[in-house]
């Protein structure tokens, strides 16, 4: 058991505090489905961003498509803005191998050429397989390879972490 695993809301507040000082007012926040979109939604409100929130479903960009096929529930990506030459804050719940982030960056570039992309994650759990590191992390935690760390959303909107 990880008694040390903090409450997700505390982590989101910590992450928002870390991001706030360097956040340009016209930064576009983009969350990766599903957990990253929840976190992005909260950050978007806490950081009082004026731009609309974006969400990405990276199913069409996964590198394991030919091995495992299409995710059973693909959601449309929603980027309600032109991201050409804009600063993007990409948000995910957990950084593990880095493959999801790579897929997300590939997808973003098919919408245009952003000025820069920064990465914010609630938990960096280690196990990276690509040269991808977060610019902001709520928590850095060494989770053994055989364990999974999952963010889920309760009916009341409360976010909670579990390790299994």
């Amino acid at each position: 058991m990880h008694a040390s695993l903090p409450d997700a809301n505390t982590l989101i507040a910590r992450l928002a505090d870390a991001i706030a000082p360097s956040l340009a007012p016209d930064t576009l926040i983009v969350g990766i489905h599903t957990g990253g979109a929840w976190v992005a939604e909260r950050l978007h409100a806490m950081l009082q961003c004026s731009m609309p929130l974006g969400t990405l479903d990276i199913s069409f960009y996964r590198d394991d498509f030919s091995r495992i096929g299409l995710h059973p529930q693909v959601k449309p990506s929603s980027l309600p803005f032109d991201l050409e030459d804009r600063v993007i804050l990409l948000v995910d719940d957990v950084l593990h191998t880095g493959r999801t982030v790579r897929a997300a960056m590939n997808e973003l570039f098919d919408y245009g050429r952003p000025a820069s992309i920064r990465l914010a994650v609630l938990v960096d759990r280690g196990g990276h397989e690509l040269p991808i590191r977060p610019d902001f992390a709520g928590l850095v935690l060494d989770v053994p390879e055989h364990q999974n760390i999952n963010l889920s959303r309760l009916d009341d909107g409360h976010l909670t972490f579990s390790i299994a």
Binding site: Y61, S66, L70, P72, Q73, V74, K75, D110
Partner: protein, 316 residues
Amino acid sequence: MNPQLTEDGRLRHLLTLDGLPRAILIQILDTAESFMDVGEREVKKVPLLRGKSIFNLFFEPSTRTRTTFEIAAKRLSADVVNLNIATSSQTKGEAILDTVDNLAAMHADMFIVRHGQSGAAHFIARHVAPHISVVNAGDGRHAHPTQGLLDMFTIRRYKGEFHNLTVAIVGDVLHSRVARSQIHALTTLGVPEVRVIGPKTLLPTGVEQMGVKVFHDMEAGLRGCDVVIMLRLQNERMKGALLPSAQEYFKFFGLTPDKLALAKPDAIVMHPGPMNRGVEIDSEVADGPQSVILPQVTYGIAVRMAVMALLAGGTA
């Protein structure tokens, strides 16, 4: 065992909508929804089928279907080869399976097959190696599943649900593979009332057994409909004894504004194309506010992308 599904219930080939589970139909429609915005982005492609080779095998001429399959495959980043076989080696007498074997030897991953004979796509599907998928793009009078799916996608986009609809299919049901695929999909998706409307000579005997209501009077059949699907009347049918003349057909079964007024005020009008204006449909209706005939074409690309993506995934 359903030859279209893998042992664990995933789509392996798409040959007919007959017997395809509701969950798979919904999965295809939902996936197509996700592909809708790809055509509007700066880069109109996703990399899913990068490195895959898709062969359009058209033993029967078609412009729209072949083109939308080609666009769909290209938006998925696949390589596409079009073969109009009516004008190539088939005229030299090459057997259909020899053609398929030759293309498989060129490392084909998927065949999109259109053929005048019912069952041609099934025949090829039974023959190909396990990693190759076959999509039926129309076989004889039997099935045209991607057209049926894009029609369901269109209905869902405009009407939201299936369980409260009355849908009429009007015209030459007897010779229509499109109508068969539509009826299977509509009943599987839970449409409570599917009607077929047409002269006795153009409705198959025993069509009631497919779960539809039969009308020979267009006015009665259109009353209260949410969706009106017009079928193309093929000119060659006029040559036989089935119909007196195009004018006569239009008088009784052509969709005019007056007849459409009998359906619900918000009813949509669909047609798989190509239309015979002034035979099965009046131009005023085809180009009117209730027509969704051109959106059907656009949706056809997203639906075909969904089918190809679901077939090609998880095969390595």
